[in-house]
Symmetry: C2
Subunit: 191 residues, 2 copies
Amino acid sequence: MFSALFKYCSQLVSFTREEQQIIESYFSIRQVPKKFTLIQNGKIARELYFINKGLLRLYYTKDTEDITAFIFREHLFASSYDSFLRQAPSIQGLDTLEDAELLVITYDDLNTLYKKVPRMEILARKIAEQRFINAQLILSSYILDSPEERWKKFEATNGDLLLRVPHHMIASFLGITPVSLSRIRKRLQGS
Amino acid sequence: MFSALFKYCSQLVSFTREEQQIIESYFSIRQVPKKFTLIQNGKIARELYFINKGLLRLYYTKDTEDITAFIFREHLFASSYDSFLRQAPSIQGLDTLEDAELLVITYDDLNTLYKKVPRMEILARKIAEQRFINAQLILSSYILDSPEERWKKFEATNGDLLLRVPHHMIASFLGITPVSLSRIRKRLQGS
DNA sequence: AAATTTTCTTTACAAAAGTTAATGAAACCC
DNA sequence: GGGTTTCATTAACTTTTGTAAAGAAAATTT
């Protein structure tokens, strides 16, 4: 139940058995169906999730349309991270795309945990750093690459998601319309 | 000399006098002229800078052209952050845009400092979180806003930089060409 | 199984941004 | 101070993407 979590953490920080038990006691497990909204746009994200199973989608809502900000896979921490960190209303929503099993910790409990297990602070720093590096990577792709190049990279690194996620959600993640994605795919077919 | 640094830090963590003295001992001060390259694309960023005075520009190089990734003002930490954190070759360069006064700490010294002043770990986490939130903000503007809207926001929040930074550097930060920026500015003049 | 919704692609047209090149102004450098 | 480089704007033309609408295929619901 917690094995994936500690496997992930152990790459960053090594916890003792005791620390692991304290950490476990602060997380709860939750089964969530497909298409379930975990964090609603405008509300404060009170919880942080570790994905044991399933797929989550972070998205902006512009006018009446959803724009994908990120797709979280198994064995990652997920949240509307900036709302969670600042405890301010979220400008993003977070939904399940598939039935999911999540480990859940609240903001307050996480801060208590920092005090009980100070090494947790190091883990949190490293996760924040990783998320920064990741955001930076996506941003640099927006800056440097054309939509076509972004699609190619997405296909190469996340090809499996093409079968699990509707294309229009990927299109908006790439910063283009489904129409444009369809054109790009057609263009590339030929070559 | 260190007053701006501790003023900035005190918003995030409160250090004792002793801790401050240790921290000071790990930073050195450096005067750097305009147009000086602090971090070269392809090299590993070994240093982290706190800007006492001056303006720094982080940029990508695509083909022969520079594309601005970020402009750092006074009283901020600056580096090619992901290169510094991962100690991997940088895909960005960092230059001064003006004569600058910098407080400098190396990667190794920072890690020593984490051990001497554990509270520093909290500061580092919070700075990483802030930088993540910031990267997220820029990314969301790329996703949600048109170039015209991005320009308007830049003008509103960083209007002072328009006098300190050439427009073509701002244009590439906004993801457009100088030609396009000029058109946008003209379009908005009328309204 | 039929009906409904969602997803994906295509077409035609409009709008925006890129490209190249030219011009004038400003800043910089011996 | 004169010459050079850098910078900002404009124009003409091309390419790309967006928008709107329609139809086909797939998935979901009843």
